[in-house]
Amino acid sequence: MSDKILSKTEIGSFLDKIKADYQIHAPVQKDLELVWAPIDQAEELVWEFSNTDLSPKSYFFPQTESLMHFKNNSQDPEGLIMKEESPLEKPRALLNIRPCDAKAFQVLDKVFCRDEKSLDVYWKDKRDKTLLIGLACNNPCPTCFCTSMNCGPHHEEGLDILLTDLGDRLLVHSVTDKGQALTANLSKAGQEDINEASRNKEQAEASITSQVKMDNINSRNVLELYEHPVWDQVHESCINCGTCTYFCPTCHCFDIQDETQGDFGRRVRNWDTCMSWLFTHHTSGHNPRGTKKDRVRQRFMHKFKYMPIKLEGAVGCVGCGRCTRKCPVNIDVREVVSSMNS
């Protein structure tokens, strides 16, 4: 697929073309925060940013999502019988998503759509109806380490289109047929633009100096890593607040709860966190991960050992650095992984 060029002054008409089939969402400035929101005009778009605080995972896996509803009335012939929620009405396009976040969804596809038995229809419905138009990172943050996590600042995997900012214009690279169809009418990029984009890529990759190795993590067996002395230290400063799990684009644990009000009832799923004591607490009182050490270990083991074993090598981390930036006690995932690998 040949690369295209799009002048920033012509973005409006490109958006109009997308809008015909999709509702567009993008990172926008809201007061001091950069947040994901629906957009209408090209003027709302932001071009200079590192990344949004929260990952866009809630587009596919909302913080609270109704799974089904029921009439909360046992006398009604239809009462207490669960009814499915309706699927997403209008397809969505996530514009200017960072490559690491798109890669995270591809990892999560392996979790939510594992096989016939583990096919999460809620996740799949929204994934199938969402177009991902990425914006390559020309200036990665100091906490980024995507290049160590099978990803990178200009990584294409999981995207339909990758945009590279060249100042007053964008290089448009279609990754999928869906992306190709939308960009077919744009003018072809010149060799100079293509060269400039690849220089940007090289510079961005070179600017990521944090490197994390996983060779020993991969070669050690589960119990060796589980009993590694690193866990005795890592958990000490952790306060089990769960912030890392909510900001993480690949953390996907959830709880399911029933809610009722009068005659209406619904079953919802909410983001949950493995940092919580209740997460694994048995009704009997027994808790297989009863200590803070158990829970901290679980989060890192899950991402860097258990997921690769189960998901054909896919690591549960894309190196976006959010957990490191948001941790209230300064736990740095790069240091933890390096210690696990030591």
Partner: protein, 279 residues
């Protein structure tokens, strides 16, 4: 696309107190839609989420055997929100069942072998399912000797006692039912399950053992089997952990990389020996 989170609507057809302390009840149920009964194809060792709208779900091992027909049986201990509500429900009440979930006992690879079943307390439910499945005439001929060892605190705490009395009369089942301490009127075995296992001394040659019981029973039965020469891959166990989705996604029931809800609940001891003891 089939939605794996939607329970099948079922109606309670029989509810009975199962133990003398009234902490366990047997719940029999049938599907409101006969097509669902056909979809719900299960094997002994699997479980289901019992779903009560407005209360939630609870993962419970299936105590009935598919060889018994379409009715489902669950024996449930009253413990949390859902099971307490369930204990207050009556015949004809409507609820939901989601499943079947998880893997099952390796019935196929057990063919041609002697089977030793060791159970304690109310962990016997899926082993009742297994026993009925094995005793089905079509299946019975595929297996060697069947030894069944089961213990509870008192005669009144034994589950499925009348059925087991029938099994004991059969010549093709070695049935050993025991209680912890002597009680007037009890003429059967007395002693903890590990002690009885030691007396029965099941041979490991070309045999498979299925063990379900409280942790303390498993802890003391293990050395008995070790002494008799049983190997880890011959010992099959079933785990329990807190669960929500039941299909290996929501992230809480894992033991190492494996989800008890999907990759389990049935594991061999050899498998468990290589995993953290997070259960």
């Amino acid at each position: 696309m089939k939605n794996p989170y939607i329970p099948y609507p079922v109606k309670l057809t029989k509810v009975e107190v199962a133990t003398e302390d009234k902490s366990l009840r047997n719940f029999e149920m049938e599907f409101l839609n006969p097509d669902h009964a056909k979809e719900f194809k299960y094997l002994p060792g699997q479980f289901a989420e019992l779903s009560i709208a407005g209360y939630g779900e609870s993962p419970i091992g299936i105590a009935s055997s598919p060889t018994e027909g379409d009715r489902l049986l669950f024996t449930v201990s009253k413990a949390g929100v859902v099971t307490t509500k369930l204990h207050n429900m009556e015949v004809d009440d409507v609820m939901g069942v989601r499943g079947p979930l998880g893997n099952w006992y390796p019935l196929e690879s057990m063919e041609g072998k002697d089977i030793v079943i060791i159970a304690g307390g109310y962990a016997v439910t899926t082993l009742r399912s297994t026993m009925l499945w094995l005793m089905d005439p079509e299946n019975r001929k595929k297996y060697g000797d069947i030894t069944f060892i089961y213990g509870a605190r008192t005669p009144g705490m034994l589950l499925y006692r009348d059925e087991m009395a029938e099994w004991a009369k059969r010549s093709d089942i070695n049935c050993h039912i025991t209680i912890d301490k002597e009680v007037p009127g009890w003429e059967g075995l007395v002693g903890f399950v590990p002690t009885i296992t030691e007396q029965v001394a099941p041979k490991p040659d070309n045999a498979v053992s299925l063990i379900c019981g409280p942790p303390v029973m498993i802890k003391f039965t293990q050395p008995v089997l070790d002494k008799l020469g049983w190997q880890g891959d011959q010992i099959i166990m079933s785990l329990e952990n807190r669960m929500k989705c039941g299909i290996g996604i929501c992230g809480r029931c894992n033991v190492g990389p494996y989800y008890v809800c999907k990759d389990g609940p049935v594991f061999t001891k050899a498998q468990l020996d290589e995993l953290p003891k997070e259960y």
